[in-house]
Symmetry: C2
Amino acid sequence: MKVNVVRDVLQRNTQIAEENQKIFRDYNIFVFNVMSSPGAGKTTFLVQTIERIKERFRVGVIEGDVASQIDAERIKATGVPVIQVNTGGACHLDASMVRKALSHLPLSELEVVIIENVGNLVCPAEWKLGEDLKVSLLSVPEGDDKPMKYPLMFTESDVLIINKIDLLPHFNFNMDQVEKVVKGFNPVIDIFKLSCTTLEGFDAWLKFLIPKIEEVRK
Amino acid sequence: MKVNVVRDVLQRNTQIAEENQKIFRDYNIFVFNVMSSPGAGKTTFLVQTIERIKERFRVGVIEGDVASQIDAERIKATGVPVIQVNTGGACHLDASMVRKALSHLPLSELEVVIIENVGNLVCPAEWKLGEDLKVSLLSVPEGDDKPMKYPLMFTESDVLIINKIDLLPHFNFNMDQVEKVVKGFNPVIDIFKLSCTTLEGFDAWLKFLIPKIEEVRK
């Protein structure tokens, strides 16, 4: 009984996500959804990404958080439009929350929408939002065992950002093992290792992202 | 409709949690439930705690994870009995999972049961398991904004462990602000700042914990 309710809710979500995807296609907007544990560095990663693409593309952001406006304020400082969605307890964004947020973004003026999900390595993985790309972050301080312990996130993602590589000297983090485990679940995932502080490795991520955006704009 | 289903499930959970609490009281077992983001250091914190109390008290552990046996293996190395509960996708333990695990622990031989929840700063907060004490961990690398963004966990917890304080020189972490925000939600919470690597601050946690266990044993 409980399982059926959950399944129905997920099916309804997928339907709304498909409608969202259609809206994004109508406007030729490329959309990516960023997911990770709390504190893996999603907002800093987005601020650094936005600073490097905003001269080229018009970007809007949907910020998901259980509570507070902290992340929206940080994004706002980059000068791009941002909508804060407070889930009020829910542990992930769903497609209808994204739909509501869309009505507050100037879609006809945008080329990229970035969705920052609630910090959670479990729940967001199975909720489609209508995005073109699912990007998950794993930060070095979280530990190299996380893909083994939270496999769905790494199986569902199109891209894995291994963040905070500047901290590798302070942690016992086996990079080869992480890559091997993740590729085991998901052989086609693209993995980028970078630091949003030193910007080491950041260019490779931009070189991957920019053609994806341009493809949708064609 | 969805809200009612969730509410019913939570009410049923609370009922099972109360039955669990009665079982623990019958055996004079003190129980604490440890919650945090993935990678905040729950397992290391438990290993260090167990090593320091296991000569004095007989300890058993219930390890909750979405997948894998990694944490159970680490706990097993301390020599105490441990049961791994794999939730198979669910983002938190519930009281009935704990009940099932109890049948695999030698309750009549135990004085302390420690429950390590799934790594998640959102969902576990509202699921009672029958514990005497809810302990949450926040690690320095996660950032000082987490209590503002995930208030329920910090409101529901009896104890907050601020972990990895040895890493404070590498992060911009405002300890005073964290304490102020958390005490704002939850004026009676006990806060301990410690490192499970250097063991700085660890004694204060043990001095708090041991009398709580002894109280239940009386």
